[in-house]
């Protein structure tokens, strides 16, 4: 199983029936493909929809029904639409149970940087800052390391998305949480040892007595 699939499947296990869930672009988008059908989750698209469905069949796309990237989507029975003030009222007001976002860096205290690389990538934060400030649970779904460098760092060097710590980080190697503000290894990916995780983690990791393998 490739890293992205491991991440998406593991994150999907964090969702519960009735949850209102917002998925960011990139790896988070894949989570929707791994939610078991018996789990009734509401997916929000922050451009104004709850109840996003899969890509429409060939010839069925409507130009006024897209995801936040402008790509055609469909709407499930029971879907609803709203304006952007309501969409971010839902987000900032704590009505989104889980948001899953990509990350550039997460530090030892759970602070996330995911919107800007000064001098290089200045796209704007879009909805990311509101999601991290407001969603009930914030899950970061990302590769553990990129180009040989850990994305879990002692302290973020990139501009923060929020000073609020995230709830959980799920990577292709591990699941990490931040109880009492301290990065803690909760699970390892199949076939990955604790020592391997520690070796490619740029932050000090608390290691509990038992660290089970991810169920995916």
């Amino acid at each position: 199983m490739d890293g992205q699939t491991i991440i998406a499947r593991r994150v999907a296990r964090e969702l519960h029936t009735g949850d209102l869930v917002n998925l960011g672009i990139g790896i988070p988008t894949l989570v929707a493909n791994h939610v078991p059908p018996e789990l009734k989750v509401f997916f929000q698209s922050e451009n104004g929809l709850i109840g996003t469905g899969p890509m429409p069949e060939q010839g069925m796309a409507h130009p006024l029904l897209t995801d936040a990237g402008g790509r055609p989507i469909s709407a499930l029975p029971g879907a609803c639409t709203f304006d952007s003030a309501m969409s971010f009222g839902l987000i900032r007001g704590g009505h989104v149970d889980v948001t899953v976002l990509g990350g550039l860096q997460v530090d030892a205290h759970g602070h996330l940087a995911n919107w800007m690389i000064p001098g290089k990538m200045v796209p704007g934060m879009g909805g990311a800052m509101d999601l991290v400030s407001g969603a009930k649970r914030v899950i970061v779904a990302m590769q553990h390391a990129a180009k040989g460098k850990s994305k879990i760092v002692a302290k973020c060097t990139l501009p923060l998305t929020s000073t609020r710590p995230v709830s959980l980080v799920v990577t292709d190697m591990a699941v990490i949480a931040f109880p009492e503000g301290k990065a803690t290894l909760l699970e390892t990916a199949p076939g990955v040892s604790i020592a391997e995780v520690v070796a490619v983690t740029g932050a000090e990791l608390a290691i509990p007595e038992t660290v089970p393998e991810m169920k995916i």
Partner: protein, 215 residues
């Protein structure tokens, strides 16, 4: 409300005007108004729009034609032309969180001086802004945002100017329709009064100044 041609409506917008444009990545954007702005070469615009769309689409056309002098938006990452113009200092860009962006416009339309948001506290977004504590929590004071013109795209407009929007094309349109001195509307369909049920109207007719006629 007056029904006017797209040429007549855009002629009312001076060069250098501040314009809010509805839409999200080009979806729900008043394309005909943007095409006419390009044709009439309205330059030095101060654009307030969630994003810069992509080249050739929606507000992206304004960047293709280098008509924007100042941009207030939440995300421009998918339009390399807007990025280039920003990095070359041809455009002054104010990038703000999307929830703050819409809430500032709503405040402008609803007569509020601003709102207190937790979004951006402790980040670079907080620079230069007042921080206000309420019951032990720190918030940023984000002030109201208005424009001279709002360019709005509706799904249905009736002869009085009542508007509805469809699916994800609603986005910023009804909020912007409250926050500008002059509101100009294009609609996918213009319908008789009564076709839109009272409970389904999303922008009440008295908010609309100009409705662009068909053809």
């Amino acid at each position: 409300m007056r029904a006017v041609s797209v040429e007549e409506a855009v002629a009312k917008i001076p060069a250098g005007a501040s314009i809010m444009v509805g839409g999200f990545m080009g979806v729900g954007t008043p394309q005909r108004l943007l095409d006419e702005i390009v044709r009439q070469q309205k330059s030095r615009l101060s654009l307030i729009s969630n994003d810069a769309a992509v080249p050739g689409k929606g507000v992206g056309k304004l960047f293709d034609a280098t008509l924007v002098a100042r941009l207030t938006a939440s995300h421009i990452g998918l339009n390399p032309k807007a990025q280039q113009q920003m990095l070359a200092n041809q455009i002054a860009v104010d990038l703000i969180p999307q929830g703050t962006f819409v809430e500032r416009i709503r405040a402008g339309g609803c007569g509020l001086g601003g709102v207190l948001t937790p979004t951006g506290v402790g980040t670079s977004v907080a620079e230069g802004k007042r921080q206000i504590e309420v019951n032990g929590t720190t918030f940023l004071l984000e002030t109201a945002l208005r424009a001279q013109f709002a360019l709005v795209h509706a799904f249905l407009a009736d002869y009085l100017g009542n508007l509805t929007y469809a699916l994800t094309a609603r986005n910023f349109n009804p909020v912007m329709a409250m926050a500008a001195d002059t509101v100009i509307v294009t609609a996918e369909h213009i319908v008789p009064v009564g076709v839109i049920a009272p409970d389904h109207v999303m922008t009440p007719a008295p908010l609309v100044d100009y409705l662009i006629t068909n053809g």
